[in-house]
């Protein structure tokens, strides 16, 4: 991977990050738009959760990982401590794979 390619990815990524913070001086967004941007961020993050949970590349990731994330979700809704949530997800997925699940 040439250094130039890394530099292009880095520059493009930084540009994506910088547009929002810099435009704050020039564009004053109404309260409604602020609320919508907060919702948009949550929508993107949940989509990342969904895609990261169920898929690997273009294919289904198997049931072990969704089972682990489901356990994490239930524990999080029941307000279990964050470390418990994460360890339960990893543990559930690992145990299911040990038991032979995909």
């Amino acid at each position: 991977m040439p250094l130039f390619a890394i530099a292009v990815v880095a520059a493009g990524t930084y540009a994506f990050r910088l547009v929002g913070p810099l435009s704050r001086d020039r564009v004053h967004l109404p309260e409604r738009a602020h609320r919508l941007l907060g919702i948009a961020a949550a929508v993107l993050l949940i989509a990342l959760v969904g895609v990261g949970t169920f898929t690997e590349g273009h294919d289904f990731a198997g049931w072990s990982r969704p089972a682990g994330v489901l356990v994490a979700g239930v524990l999080a809704i029941r307000r279990a401590p964050f470390p418990v949530v994460v360890v339960a997800a990893i543990g559930t997925t690992a145990l299911l794979r040990l038991a032979g699940a995909s």
């Binding site: 991977m1 040439p2 250094l3 130039f4 390619a5 890394i6 990815v9 880095a10 493009g12 990524t13 994506f16 990050r17 910088l18 547009v19 929002g20 913070p21 435009s23 704050r24 409604r32 919508l36 941007l37 907060g38 919702i39 948009a40 961020a41 949550a42 929508v43 993107l44 993050l45 949940i46 989509a47 990342l48 959760v49 969904g50 895609v51 990261g52 949970t53 169920f54 898929t55 590349g57 294919d59 072990s64 990982r65 682990g68 994330v69 994490a72 979700g73 999080a76 809704i77 964050f82 470390p83 949530v85 994460v86 997800a89 990893i90 543990g91 559930t92 997925t93 690992a94 145990l95």
Partner: protein, 236 residues
């Protein structure tokens, strides 16, 4: 703003540390995968410092290791990172520091899935800022150290999927975003968006389905009722 860190409770600090540990494991595996695949150790290390976005780094290195061209690798990474554009707008208030403009330029580099998710959990401006900065700086340090460690250790590290560690990233994000889903509009839009993203995943390049999830917002994009009191002609 040094005092702002005192506004963070111990639970939040502990959560940030845990996310750092989880990301360190992912970072180490990234370094190891890149070097094991035949790339020089400086490639994953330099990339992690300059790009600082795990998903895009895996995608770019994955394309190159699979024999793809650098152009394809760059495109794959940039499509994945396009979500950082709306994220930048969502946390722009956190980075707004008129007295020290360089903090905004540096802070923008810390916009990641994790830092945005932590910022979303708080509404108080000082707390949002403190949690974003602490999470961003801690993640930047641990991520890059872990990638360097993985690149040096190389093949010595095992396969993270065998240990169930691949469940950690979605579980961490889900736990962080759950409080935001108590709001009904957010919940509806997120469920619709995630469904669209999942349905599109088999057919579209990685990164695009997540962007399509923004279509989940369409029910809320209707123009507001014309009741602006400060608008000429508006009925107050």
């Amino acid at each position: 703003m040094r005092s702002s860190y005192r506004t963070l409770d111990r639970g939040t600090v502990r959560d940030i540390l845990l996310v750092c540990v989880a990301d360190a494991v992912v970072g180490a595996s990234f370094g190891a995968i890149a070097v094991t695949g035949g790339l020089d150790p400086w490639v994953p290390i330099v990339m992690s410092v300059l790009v600082f976005a795990g998903g895009a780094q895996f995608a770019a290195v994955g394309v190159v290791l699979a024999g793809g061209s650098p152009v394809a690798a760059v495109l794959a990474a940039l499509v994945l990172n396009a979500r950082l554009l709306p994220f930048g707008f969502a946390v722009a208030d956190v980075l707004d520091d008129r007295r020290r403009r360089w903090t905004r330029l540096a802070g923008a580099h810390l916009i990641t899935d994790e830092t945005v998710a932590f910022a979303l959990r708080h509404t108080d401006p000082a707390r949002r800022r403190a949690v974003f900065r602490l999470c961003g700086i801690a993640l930047f340090v641990t991520w890059n150290l872990a990638v360097a460690g993985g690149a040096v250790a190389g093949t010595g590290l095992g396969d993270p999927t065998a240990l169930g560690l691949d469940a950690a990233f979605p579980a961490v994000l889900l736990a962080l975003v759950l409080p935001a889903l108590r709001d009904r509009a957010t919940r509806t839009a997120a469920l619709l968006g995630a469904t669209i993203a999942l349905a599109a995943t088999p057919y579209l390049p990685p990164g695009v389905p997540v962007l399509l999830a923004l279509l989940g917002l369409t029910p809320y994009l209707r123009p507001p009722r014309p009741t602006w009191p400060d608008q000429p002609g508006g009925s107050a």
